[in-house]
């Protein structure tokens, strides 16, 4: 087993982790602030990916404009899910919110399936060969994925750490009653949160679809990996979500060399469980965050 082989596997893992990072980021924020796992992340990713495809096929120049359009579409959708459903369930137990999010996910998928072809589709990009550094292969498009994810993480992190908006959201996450009592009006920060959720999911969906294929049900398959990354990194920590995603990605791909492709997911979970045994709140999570 040559080191070049292993390095290639690590690079694969890094990129696979990076594409999960954005939905994980979306999930961790909502989980922390609204206190429930929002299962619509998967189908929002699908909708975002298809929206970008739709914009591309009607002739929008420059793919990033199509992606931007898709992000706006999903921002509106996520905001709508908050406004019409989750806002009314703020004081309901976690499982009721979870149930509602499953229902919304089904509805989104149903609309998607009624409007798009069930055949797999792809974005209209020319295929390029990978750069080959004496056996180590790196794809130009993967660098875009890396860049996009890191820049997005940096933006989200800065918002949460350095802006007033971010501070308010963190206050709401830590102690909703106290936040309410100290007149932190939650309306606008929460709207922002949900728009962010939609935008991140859409972007994540586009990145994944650009590497693979678009199918109406594809987003649903990524909920569990994204959720696992969130837990590994610690709920509520944006850097943790990305780190968790990358660690699980690299662990899965590296394991191919030793246990074969089918046990990949199991190894990733095993790593996660090991980390949790040592740090029960996740890598970067704060131990007092237990409901």
């Amino acid at each position: 087993m040559s080191s070049i082989y292993l390095i290639n596997l690590i690079i694969n893992g890094l990129i696979e982790g990076m594409v999960i990072a954005l939905p994980a980021l979306a999930l961790t924020l909502v989980l922390d602030i609204s206190k429930f796992p929002n299962v619509t992340v998967g189908d929002t990713m699908s909708v975002g990916a298809y929206a970008a495809l739709a914009f591309q096929s009607i002739g929008v120049p420059y793919f990033f404009l199509s992606v931007g359009g898709a992000m706006v579409v999903c921002m509106l959708i996520s905001l709508a899910t908050y406004y019409f459903v989750f806002r009314k369930l703020t004081r309901a137990p976690m499982v009721v919110n979870l149930l509602a999010s499953v229902g919304l996910a089904f509805m989104m998928r149903s609309v998607l399936q009624l409007n798009v072809s069930s055949q797999p589709q792809t974005y209209d990009f020319p295929l390029v060969r990978a750069w080959n550094f004496s056996g180590i292969r790196i794809l130009p498009t993967d660098l875009w994925v890396l860049l996009t994810t890191i820049v997005t993480l940096a933006i989200v992190f800065s918002i949460f750490r350095y802006t007033d908006l971010g501070r308010r959201l963190r206050a709401i996450a830590d102690n909703p009653e106290l936040a309410r009592a100290s007149a932190i009006r939650p309306k606008y920060p929460i709207f922002f949160l949900w728009c962010l959720f939609g935008a991140l999911s859409a972007l994540g969906g586009v990145l994944i679809a650009s590497k693979s294929v678009l199918l109406p049900e594809f987003g649903w398959e990524f909920i569990i990996p994204a959720f696992s990354a969130v837990i590994l990194g610690g709920i509520g920590n944006p850097v943790g979500a990305v780190l968790g995603a990358v660690i699980m990605g690299i662990a899965s791909e590296l394991s191919v060399a030793f246990v074969g492709p089918s046990y990949k997911i199991t190894i990733a979970f095993a790593i996660m469980i090991l980390v949790l045994l040592i740090r029960p709140a996740g890598l970067l999570g704060s131990p007092e965050k237990a409901r």
Binding site: L31, P37, V85, K88, L89, A92, P93, V95, V96, N97, L98, L99, A100, V102, G103, L104, A105, F106, M107, M108, R109, S110, V111, Q113, L114, I224, F227, S228, I231, I235, S262, Y263, I265, T266, F269, M272, I273, L276, L277, P280, A281, G282, A290, R291
Partner: protein
Amino acid sequence: MDAYLISICIIAGIYALLAIGLNIQYGETGLINFGHVAYFAIGAYASAILAGKGVPVPLAMVLAGLVAALGAIPIGLAALRLKEDYFAIVTLGFAEAVRIFVQQEDWLTNGVQGIASIPPLFDSSTAPGYQNHLFAAVIVSVVICAMVAVALLQRSTFGRILRAIRENEVAVTALGKRTASFKVKVLMFGSFLGGVAGAFYAHFISYISPEQFIALVTFYVWMSIILGGVGSMKGALIGSLALVILLEGSRFIGDFLPGVSDVQMAHLRLGIIGLVLVVFSLYRPQGIFGRLD
């Protein structure tokens, strides 16, 4: 026609056993188990494999439940250290690991090909033409027994401690009770029921394969207990029936909508189920039998 309704009844019974098991774990004790399908799978495969080796079916089913209960021990140990969401994902990971194990270890489970021709509970020599009716009767009896057992449990000291753990675990430990053993026992009991449900499933469907034991099954069981009202055993029963009626009933809607093509109908069905779930969450979040706290 009644044969179709009997099948619905059997499937509802299977989900009822799963739901009662999950309800003990979450409704009574507050443990968030997202891996319930793992015990369903263990029960189904254990019963199929044992029956295939000649063990009489009723015995195989009971043994299958016991094997599933044993499978709860590793999860129980994890529950000790982890808080809710973290525990939840570990249970999810365990369920996926079970599915992959079943898929990969051909020597035991026949892998992706699955196990076919699983012997039924009542073969054609007993009461020809009425096997399914008998099967339904057996499963309904088992569900009733389970509910009685749970009711006894709830009224006992054991049950009181479980509820106390859900409300305030720290206080319970402070009073000197070791919560760990309670949690493990509860998980084992719920998993036993899940395993028995799996065994019923295997002998009903007669063909099992790894792709049938996906996380979606766990979702459906959660939906049953939420629809019925978390914590209420009557709720678990009625919730399972409601779930099966929702899933199956939506199949018939197509017969009432003339303008919609069959392909569209299949997609619309998912949306209708989703809409029902959302409306339910908004207007009756406590479930049919739950109370608004």
